[in-house]
């Protein structure tokens, strides 16, 4: 081990080189002495240990750091995961909320009595159907009114896929009860309180005046009642208008002549409608021309306030074409005649030939949504619906027994003279009106700049009203209307409501008829429609 190199080595460890005077050590006598050697060895040892210690520390530090980093990463990962989970949860919760809202909406729309096109909450309900109207957008519109208490037990207990509609208390037909003897409340269909808490009044206040009956029966839903009366009242007002116009015409030969010609021209044009693209241009134009001319007072007619022919109050709307407080009475009269012609076309033609309903529905939607025929920015379709309400109360949620006089009145069963029309005639009318209603209410306005005057939400509500009838109060009239408003419209319905529509169809065509106590022809008709859905569209509703 001896040699020159260890010498230097020996010196260095004791003192750090810069400190040690190079001269002293270098020149020192005993620089090669043992002492010096040992000293250097020791210094080297110390240095070595020091380095080693530091190395260990560095390593430990590094390991610690690594560990910290890993932990941090892990933490981050967990956090990420948490975030993801949270997001998922939030999403699910949102979905759940949406669903809940959907149910709430269904629960809410169902118990409401006949549509109330005007109130502001409704306008949100209108929105989805104007656009793409997926089922998901529907619930968003549900919030405005709180869910009525009748459904409080409902949403929680029921699976939405099983029952897309909520149960609803029975209704009485306001129009009818006012015309019928006052024992409305004690009639068989007011009585059965099968599921609902809403009609406790029956026994207690039987001799009440009939007009009070509806209010008694639905104490939980006060806003519903006025709407009923609204349509019946509008219908009465329209009758008065008709009588008034006849009077005007007597003193105004020009008005009389043109009024008759216009009325007949509208009737003829509506009767000429056929299927096929562009087939009805001429007819539509002809009706529009007549209405426009009446609106521009040619011939002139006394002015009338349209508000007695619409539901709710209307204020002038900026930019609307007809903002005046009054419109020519001839125009309103002709809108009324148009409504009559539409209903008659459904009754006379569409029961026998369902496919002729669609062109009528198209023209109806076009005319009642046309900007030039709106009043204060909203459609005058209430004129038509007031008639619908009278001839086909079932789509507005009314029901009654077809075995009694009053029940038949409620169902819109027509009388000729003193006698009821035959069952066959009645069914025929209902078939035509059912499909007619669908042809108006399931119109796609997504590509139109106009507002849908009777959006699909109305259709959903009508369907819900019928399907939620307690099975033992169901009549064939309801089955027939339901079937004819579904038949040939399944696809459109599904386009608007997606899987909610499928659930609704299942409810209407499978569960509902299955729960019927008796397999009447009407019930069987619904079941057959389910079979046809499967055969023709491949839509398996789970028979």
């Amino acid at each position: 081990m001896a040699g020159s190199s260890p010498v230097r080595h020996r010196q260095t460890p004791s003192r750090p080189s810069p400190v040690r005077s190079p001269d002293s050590s270098y020149r020192s006598e005993d620089r090669n002495g043992e002492m010096n050697h040992l000293e250097a060895l020791l210094a080297a040892q110390i240095l070595h240990d020091d380095v080693r210690k530091r190395a260990y520390k560095t390593l430990a530090d590094h390991e610690y750091e690594e560990e910290q980093k890993k932990r941090a990463e892990r933490e981050q990962e967990i956090k990420d995961q948490q975030r993801r989970e949270e997001e998922r949860l939030r999403h699910e919760k949102k979905l759940r909320d949406e669903e809940e809202r959907l149910r709430a909406l269904q629960a809410q729309t169902v118990p409401k009595l006949p549509p109330q096109p005007k109130p502001s909450p409704q306008s949100t309900t209108v929105a989805p159907s104007n656009g793409d109207a997926a089922a998901a957008t529907q619930p968003a519109a549900a919030k405005p009114t709180p869910t009525p208490d009748t459904s409080s037990s409902g949403p929680a207990a029921q699976d939405p896929s099983k029952n897309p509609f909520q149960a609803e208390p029975p209704k009485t037909n306001g129009h009818v009860s006012s015309a019928a003897p006052p024992n409305t409340t004690s009639s068989p269909f007011a009585r059965p309180a099968t599921s609902q808490p809403a009609n406790p009044s029956a026994a207690a206040t039987a001799p009440e005046p009939a007009a009070q009956a509806p209010a008694q029966i639905q104490p939980t839903r006060p806003p519903a009642v006025p709407v009923v009366d609204d349509y019946v009242q509008i219908h009465k007002n329209l009758k008065k208008l008709r009588a008034l116009m006849t009077e005007h015409a007597k003193s105004n030969p020009q008005l009389k002549k043109q009024m008759g010609e216009m009325r007949r021209e509208i009737r003829k044009s509506l009767g000429q409608l056929t299927g096929g693209k562009g087939a009805n241009k001429k007819q539509l134009e002809s009706i529009k021309t007549i209405l426009m001319s009446a609106l521009h007072s040619q011939p002139s007619s006394p002015m009338t306030d349209p508000s007695s022919f619409v539901v709710g109050n209307r204020e002038p709307v900026e930019g609307a074409l007809n903002n005046e407080p009054q419109l020519p009475s001839l125009f309103l009269y002709l809108m009324n005649q148009l409504g009559k012609a539409i209903i008659n076309q459904f009754i006379n033609e569409c029961g026998a030939s369902p496919r002729s309903a669609d062109p009528v529905g198209v023209v109806t939607a076009q005319l009642f949504s046309a900007k030039e025929f709106l009043w204060r920015g909203q459609s005058l379709i209430d004129i038509l619906m007031a008639k619908f309400r009278i001839v086909c109360p079932v789509v507005f949620g009314y029901r009654g027994s077809d075995k009694t006089n009053q029940g038949r009145l409620r169902l819109g069963w027509k009388k000729e003279g003193d006698a009821w029309i035959s069952e066959q005639q009645h069914n025929d009318r209902m078939m035509g009106l059912g499909i007619g209603y669908a042809s108006i209410a399931l119109r796609d306005f997504s590509k139109s700049s106009n507002i849908n005057p009777w959006p699909p939400s109305r259709y959903w509500k009508s369907m819900a009203d019928i399907v939620n009838t307690p099975p033992d109060e169901m009549t064939d009239t309801q089955c027939i209307v339901l079937k004819s408003m579904l038949n040939q419209h399944e696809e459109k319905f599904i386009n608007f409501y997606g899987s909610a529509a499928v659930a609704a169809l299942r409810r209407a065509l499978v569960e509902f008829p299955n729960s019927a106590p008796k397999k009447t022809p009407g019930v069987m008709g619904l079941q057959v429609l389910a079979v046809m859905c499967k055969r023709d569209m491949g839509l398996d509703l789970g028979l």
Binding site: R267, K268, T274, S353, E416, G417, E423, K519, G525
Partner: protein, 472 residues
């Protein structure tokens, strides 16, 4: 409801139907009573007479009458088909005829009932119930009709009621529909007698397994020399066990005798004579000042009431084409169908109308019988129907068949016959007298008044249509 026995009359008695309206009124009052009580609301049966063959009369348990289709024990697929067609319950003719026709062993039937009361559905239902669907290509039922239009229409009804019968094959044996050298491979065959006769003779049509023979518009078929012979020859070639069902809106006495020979030992179902005037159809006539104004008046009619589809019967092709031209200009979608068109062309034209692509059908007489387009709400006799050499006398039967194209199945129907001089008025008068129809006169002077009158007539004739028990 009167009890069963009282509704059944012996064959002798049925020969002289009771013309007294008293029965009707009593029955109606009965029904109304029930309404008053708010209980039962069944319709009253007073206008269908049933006479039974000996076999049926000998039974201790007489015929039932089916108030629902389910009671008939029909195959499930057939029942589904009826439900899909919105048939709610059997019509009067169906509720009497179906139990008899479906009974085993099969018995013959002669059934007469007014237009649009469900005759076709009755025999189609029976036919489908007798077919063994495991042999879809073996002819088992034959339905004969006087014209290709009617045969094809019946084929359509068979397919609709049979839409749930998976292996149902229906063939039309009408001129030009079956190529030579091809065999008919269908379980149900609808055809015209001449073509069917030829097909059987040429062995294209195997009749050995035939179970049912239906003859629709039987009066017309058995009455006319040519068609009657062809029917008889077809029948001779069929197995003797075949069940024979004869259906028509009218059965003049002469034809009844022949029919009874043709379908021996048949049960018979008949309507009373005065029911034949097709209740429920508002029958009016338009008093035109002269012939040249008929067209302008015709166009006005479409504004008087809500019309679905309509049929205008005219005398000549020329006037058919002329009216068509003018109506198209007025915005109507029109089909003109007359003798100038044949075979496939006729099929296409009638399909155009039937499918609703056109809503006005202008036609000469070819269509008077049996064609059922259920949304027809107005029939116009642009000319009074005439018959005989030189068309010198009025033709009441044709009138009846024509107006029977509307008011199907209890729907609103209106018929308006145009007259313009003393002669046409007298002819129409004779028709009205024969059926004791109270025709309402319309004048084209003030359309407001005419409109009101038409609306009133529609309302009142529906009220008296006899489908409803009246409270009076």
């Amino acid at each position: 409801m009167s009890d069963l026995a009282s509704r059944i009359t012996a064959p002798e008695a049925s020969a002289a139907p009771n013309l007294d309206m008293g029965d009707v009124e009593t029955a109606q009052t009965d029904g109304a009573g029930m309404i008053g009580n708010g209980s039962g609301l069944q319709e009253v049966n007073y206008d269908v007479e049933v006479s039974l063959n000996e076999l049926q009369r000998d039974r201790s348990n007489p015929l039932g009458s089916a108030h629902t289709f389910e009671e008939l024990g029909l195959p499930g697929e057939v029942l589904q088909g009826l439900m899909a067609m919105q048939f709610q319950k059997p019509s009067k003719v169906q509720e009497k005829a179906l139990p008899l026709m479906l009974a085993n062993p099969p018995q013959n039937m002669i059934a007469q009932s007014q237009s649009g009361t469900g005759k076709t559905a009755a025999f189609v239902t029976t036919t489908l119930s007798r077919v063994d669907f495991s042999q879809p290509t073996q002819p088992q039922a034959l339905i004969l009709a006087p014209s290709r239009e009617l045969a094809r229409q019946i084929q359509g009804v068979v397919q609709t009621i049979g839409q749930f019968c998976a292996s149902l094959v229906v063939a039309a044996a009408v001129p030009g529909a079956v190529a030579r050298d091809t065999r008919i491979e269908a379980s149900v065959v609808c055809g015209t007698p001449g073509t069917v006769m030829d097909l059987i003779r040429r062995r294209q049509f195997d009749v050995s397994q035939l179970k049912v023979l239906v003859i629709d518009e039987a009066d017309n078929m058995l009455d006319q020399q040519g068609l009657g012979d062809q029917c008889a020859r077809v029948k001779q070639m069929l197995p003797p066990t075949v069940q024979i069902l004869l259906f028509s809106a009218t059965f003049p006495d002469g034809v009844v005798k022949y029919a009874e020979k043709f379908a021996p030992n048949a049960n018979q179902i008949k309507l009373k004579v005065q029911e034949l005037t097709v209740r429920g159809i508002s029958q009016m006539f338009m008093d035109c000042p002269d012939e040249s104004q008929k067209y302008a008046i015709l166009c006005q009619l479409y504004g008087l009431m809500q019309i679905g589809s309509s049929i205008i019967f005219v005398k000549t092709r020329e006037s058919a084409n002329e009216i068509m031209k003018r109506m198209v200009a007025d915005g109507h979608k029109v089909t003109a169908l007359h003798g100038a068109f044949e075979g496939g062309e006729r099929d296409a034209l009638i399909d155009e109308f039937r499918s609703g692509r056109t809503k006005v059908l202008i036609t000469t007489n070819v269509l008077a019988r049996g064609i059922d387009v259920s949304s027809v709400s107005m029939v116009i006799n642009y000319d009074v129907p005439m018959k005989g050499p030189g068309e010198r006398e009025p033709d009441p039967e044709t009138y009846l068949h024509r107006i029977g194209r509307t008011g199907r199945f209890g729907r609103v129907g209106v018929s308006i016959t145009f007259i313009y001089d003393k002669k046409s008025f007298d002819f129409l008068q004779q028709i009205a007298e024969k059926y004791q129809i109270d025709l309402i006169r319309l004048v084209p002077d003030d359309w407001d008044t005419t409109e009101k009158e038409v609306q009133r007539v529609i309302k009142s004739s529906r009220a008296q249509s006899g489908f409803n028990p009246s409270a009076k």
